[in-house]
Each structure stands twice: as structure tokens, then as C-alpha cells.
């Protein structure tokens, strides 16, 4: 039981890390209907910018705003040079363009900041919390807890931003109906640039946490793959969905990794570990059987 709880909690905390990446997808999809495959690459770019600036001599408190500046500029440039030119193209074309964008970043970022894997020290030690270890004998990582706290904060801030600010309202209006928003005078292109900026900010937070967790390096781009099933479960358009989806994926994936392989081994013989790669996707697929638009997705009705 203790072990079960330990796995469950560690899974939930990992899930928060997935949510952070998924959040970036949701923001952009919500506002512009673009499925931004480059989100993983943006996480990489953001983390690399922070480390890159620090290597050039900037302290952490300065490197973060600098990186945020880079991400914002990048978002604006993306909107101006790529997405604006692709207005009215089918969604698949936009999706493909973001894959191109991902390649662009994967070539550019290491060229500017160097491709060596580097450590990013945020000053939070990733060790088990001793009080809990002594009291219940459970391992809970301090770092993961802090990360979860930051994620919660981020979601709250974003929710408030969407709900109560002028820009936030405009964003929601754009998400609801581009043309209606345009006709009441919301400057669509500014809004998109802002959304890409905000997504860049989310990528920055995710990049720093993932970077501090595993080191800053090319493999950060793979975080996108962990976020996709989260999106399916949570729905492409829902911020809370990204969080809940992340928690579900994180917990179930860890539990499955621990408890499924022994079952399969007794059934087929051999060694069946390492199912984390596909398990979330299959789980997401099963979810789709029940709710094709995800947990919090909007129901879509087709009309001829």
C-alpha cells in the first residue's frame, strides 16, 4: 500500500510536468486553432536561452526576463512571418508549418547557444523530503512538489488573465469565433502575437523546470510527445483539461509501468517493461471511445 501510494504520488507529480507542456499547446490551439507541434522545440529554446544567457554572464534573475524577451520576439516573428501568411489554409497545413518551425528551432537554438547538455540550477534540491521519509517511509521529491506548486500558480494566473483582463477577454472572443471577433474590432494579429508570447512564457516555465530536472539539452524537444496524450484526454481547448489530463496520464503511466509488466510476464514470459512510451497513447485512445472530444473538450456538431 505504501509503495502504491508512493508510485501514485510520484506519478501525479510527473503528470504536472506533462501538463505544463500541454498547457502551451492548449493556449495556442484555443486562440488560433493551430496545433502547434513546435511547442516541444519552444521548451528547448526557452531553457537554452536561460542557460545561454547565464553562460554569457547574466545572473538567473536577469536571464529569465531575457529569455522571456527572446521567446516573445520569437512568438511575434512566428506570427508575422509564418502564420499570418497561412491564414485561411486548412488546419493540417498550419500543423505542418509548425513541424517545420520545430525543425527551424532545433537547428537555430543550438547554433546560437551551443548544443552541449548543461545543468540548470534553480536552487531547489531534488531530494526526498526527510520529514515524510521518516514519518511514513515514503519518498516524495521536494523538487516535484515545488514544480507542482509553480504549475498551480501558473494555471491560476492564466485563468485570472483570461477571465479578468481586456486582452484575456479578447483572447476568448477570438477563440470563440475569429470573424465575429474581427468584426467587433479586435485586432486579430495582435492577439495571435500575444498568444504566442504567452505560450512562449509557458514554454519558458516548462523548459526551466524540465531543464532543472533532466538537464538542458536536445531531448527537451521530446517533452512534446508526453504532452500529446494529455491533450487528448483533457481536450485541446481546455486549460483545466490540460491539468487533469496530465494528472491522469502521469499517475496511470507510472502505475502501469510498475504493475502491468509483471502481469504480462506471467502471461507471455519474457520482459515487458518500458511501456511508458505507448501506454499514455493507448489510454488516450480508450478515453476517446467514451468521450471523443476529451474530458473538457467542446462538443462539436457537424452540419452539412
Amino acid at each position: 500500500m505504501r509503495f502504491f501510494l508512493e508510485v501514485l504520488i510520484s506519478g501525479l507529480l510527473s503528470g504536472v510536468m506533462y501538463s505544463l507542456v500541454a498547457l502551451g499547446f492548449v493556449l495556442i490551439y484555443k486562440a488560433s486553432g493551430v496545433f502547434n507541434f513546435a511547442q516541444g522545440a519552444m521548451v528547448y529554446l526557452a531553457a537554452l536561452s536561460v542557460v545561454g544567457c547565464m553562460e554569457k554572464g547574466a545572473p538567473l534573475w536577469l536571464a529569465i526576463p531575457l529569455a522571456l524577451g527572446i521567446m516573445t520576439l520569437f512568438g511575434i516573428a512566428t506570427e508575422k512571418f509564418v502564420l499570418r501568411k497561412l491564414v485561411n489554409q486548412p488546419p493540417i497545413a498550419l500543423f505542418m508549418a509548425t513541424i517545420g518551425l520545430a525543425f527551424f528551432i532545433e537547428g537555430l537554438a543550438p547554433m546560437v547557444f551551443g548544443s552541449d547538455p548543461r545543468a540548470l540550477d534553480l536552487g531547489i534540491v531534488d531530494e526526498p523530503i526527510e520529514a515524510i521519509l521518516n514519518r511514513w517511509g515514503m519518498v516524495i521529491s521536494r523538487f516535484d512538489l515545488v514544480a507542482a506548486g509553480i504549475a498551480a500558480l501558473l494555471v491560476t494566473v492564466l485563468a485570472l488573465f483570461f477571465q479578468y483582463t481586456r486582452i484575456g477577454r479578447a483572447l476568448r472572443a477570438v477563440a470563440d469565433d475569429h470573424q465575429a471577433a474581427l468584426s467587433i474590432g479586435i485586432p486579430l494579429q495582435h492577439i495571435w502575437a500575444i498568444v504566442w508570447g504567452v505560450a512562449g512564457f509557458v514554454a519558458l516555465v516548462a523548459g526551466m523546470l524540465w531543464g532543472a530536472r533532466n538537464g538542458v539539452q536536445f531531448a527537451l524537444t521530446f517533452t512534446a510527445l508526453k504532452a500529446l496524450p494529455v491533450l487528448i484526454i483533457g481536450g485541446f481547448t481546455s486549460v483545466p483539461g490540460a491539468i487533469v489530463g496530465g494528472l491522469i496520464i502521469g499517475a496511470s503511466e507510472k502505475l502501469a509501468e510498475i504493475y502491468l509488466p509483471p502481469l504480462m510476464e506471467s502471461a507471455f514470459g519474457g520482459n515487458f517493461g518500458g511501456i511508458e512510451g505507448w501506454f499514455p497513447y493507448v489510454l488516450a485512445l480508450l478515453f476517446l471511445l467514451i468521450r471523443p472530444e476529451g474530458l473538457f473538450g467542446e462538443k462539436h456538431i457537424d452540419r452539412v
Binding site: Q89, M96, I99, F103, M111, G274, L288
Partner: protein
Amino acid sequence: MFYREAGQFKSSYAADQQLFPIRQDRIGVLLLLAIAFLVVPFVAGEYWFSAILIPFLIFSLAALGLNLLTGYAGQLSLGSAAFMAVGAYAAYNFELRVDGLPILFSFALAGLTAAGVGILFGLPSLWIKGFYLAVATLAAQFFIVWCLTKFPWFSNHSSSGVISTQKVTLFGYAFTSPREKYLLVLTIVTVLALAAKNLVRSSTGRAWMAVRDMDVAASVIGIRLMPTKLLAFAVSSFYCGVAGALYAFCYLGSVEPDGFSLDLSFRVLFMIIIGGMGSILGSFLGAAFILLLPIFLDIALPWLAGALGLPFSNATVSHIQILLFGTLIMFFLIVEPHGLARLWQIAKEKLRLWPFPH
């Protein structure tokens, strides 16, 4: 003037229904095939066969498969590499376990196996679509590769999970040199490409396109969605499966499940985007472009850097390559979203009118 169909009257049903109704097209295709079969084998060097022509044909076939599914039937798939893997491993196992099975049968059976798996993973398309479906096909991508890694039976209990393919022999004749392999691949690809060309203009192909354009409308006019979509998955996977078998047997000679990664799926997807969705010709053009571009950049960039005296290190050159690759993909989507095939169409129209454009 060069491409004028005026004066070509069709006086029989047979003439009206042939695969290439315009005479120039017929001549062009025949000429192309003649060059590919009769001229290329004698002029191309070994590098061209093993590093460019064979992979080009194989990737064209895979792209063709994906194009049938995505370009014609409108079902976005990110799992084509997994179906290639199924084909490769199936062909290996048929050759291994059935004594003396002619290689063509193995390839066909590999395609059928992939088709079966494709139907299985196509089932979600019945109730989801768009990006949800795309992500669902990723399940196929990861799950299939994992299965091939985990069940040692598939790789004949090789300790590393890598399979090393058998000799390609047909009725006692061994295809060993790159030239022979090229001819074998070319024959298979030609037959399958013509079959695809034929298929997409049949009622099946038109049903696919109706589903692609709007599936609700299609079902309203009496197209049954389930068999239509599943057939698209089956046919597409068949093509990918055969391509995978050829990839293992005629190109690499030795494959591991991890080789059929998501990256490979993306490459195939890029091919149809750049080449042109919903175009047989586009699959070939796209494959050529995606395959040749990195090779070209690899050769041209260091040369350019040297000529201009730029202090590029090898790493920088490689990074620029990836960067340019991404840029070109975006560039194409912006400038010519219908791909290279559309450029060819424009060229044809120009040729029809030239030199009297009015």
C-alpha cells in the same frame, strides 16, 4: 502548343476510360518508364543506386501509401513508419518460417499483414477525426514498435532485436547487386503506382475524396463511412507495408524496431505535403525532394562555406541544414500549399498555351 489535347477525340468507352486519357501523358509516362528501366540501369553508378534511387523509390511508395490515406481519404496519420515496420518484420518472418517462399509472395504477404494491422488501428477513425485521430495514430506508432522490440519471436530471438534480412531471391535468381535490386524495386513500385492511379479514379477513390471533403455529407449521399475509411487504412497500410519490406530487404539489409521511429513517419508526411496531397505524382516528387535536399545541403554548404571563406565548423553546417530544412517546409506551405505537383500542373497549363497565351 506542346501539351494541347485539342483534336484528341475519344470514340470508344475504352479510349475514354484509359488510365492516361491525354496522349502526351501516355507518351510521357512511357518515356519515363523506358528511361527508368532501360537507360538508368546502364548509366547510374553504385552510389546512385544504393543511396538515392532505391530509397527514392521505396519512400515514394510509402508516401504514396500515406497519400492514399491522408491526401485522398482525408485521415491524417502519423504512424506510417510503424506500418513499414510491420511490413519489414512480416516479410522477414515469412521468409524465415516458410521454406522457399518466393520473395514477391513474402512482400505481398507483408503488405497484407500491414493492411490487417492498419485496419485495427484505423478503427478509431470511425468515431474521431482531425488532430485527435492524428494523435491516436501515434498510439499505433509507439505500440507497434514496442511490440516488435518486446516479443523476441518477431526478431527470431536475436539478442539485440535487430533483424538481418535474407537474400532476395526469386525462383532461384538472387538479386545481389544494387542494379538488380533497383530493377526489382522499380518494377514493384511501378505496378503499385499504376494500381493506385487506377484505384483513385474508381468508385472507391471517389468515395474517399467525398469522405475527405466532408464525411457527414458523404454519408448523407449514401457512402458508407465504415468500410470506406477502413479500406483506406487497409490499402494505405498495404503500400506502407510493402515499402517497409523493401526498405529492409533492398535498402538497409538490417533493421531494428527503433529505426522505424516517429521521425521516419514525419519524413513520409513531409513528402506528401511538399509533393502535394491527393496526387500520385506528388508522392514521387515529394520523396525526391525530401531525400535529395539534405544530401544536397550536405554537399553544397561546406563547399559554399569554403568558397566564401566562412568559418563554419561541421556542427554549424549540420545545424544550418536542419534550420534550412524547417524553413523550406514553411516556405513551401506558404508559397505553394498544394505542393510540387501543383507546380507541374501550372507548367502543363503554360505549355498548353505557349507560345500564344491568348
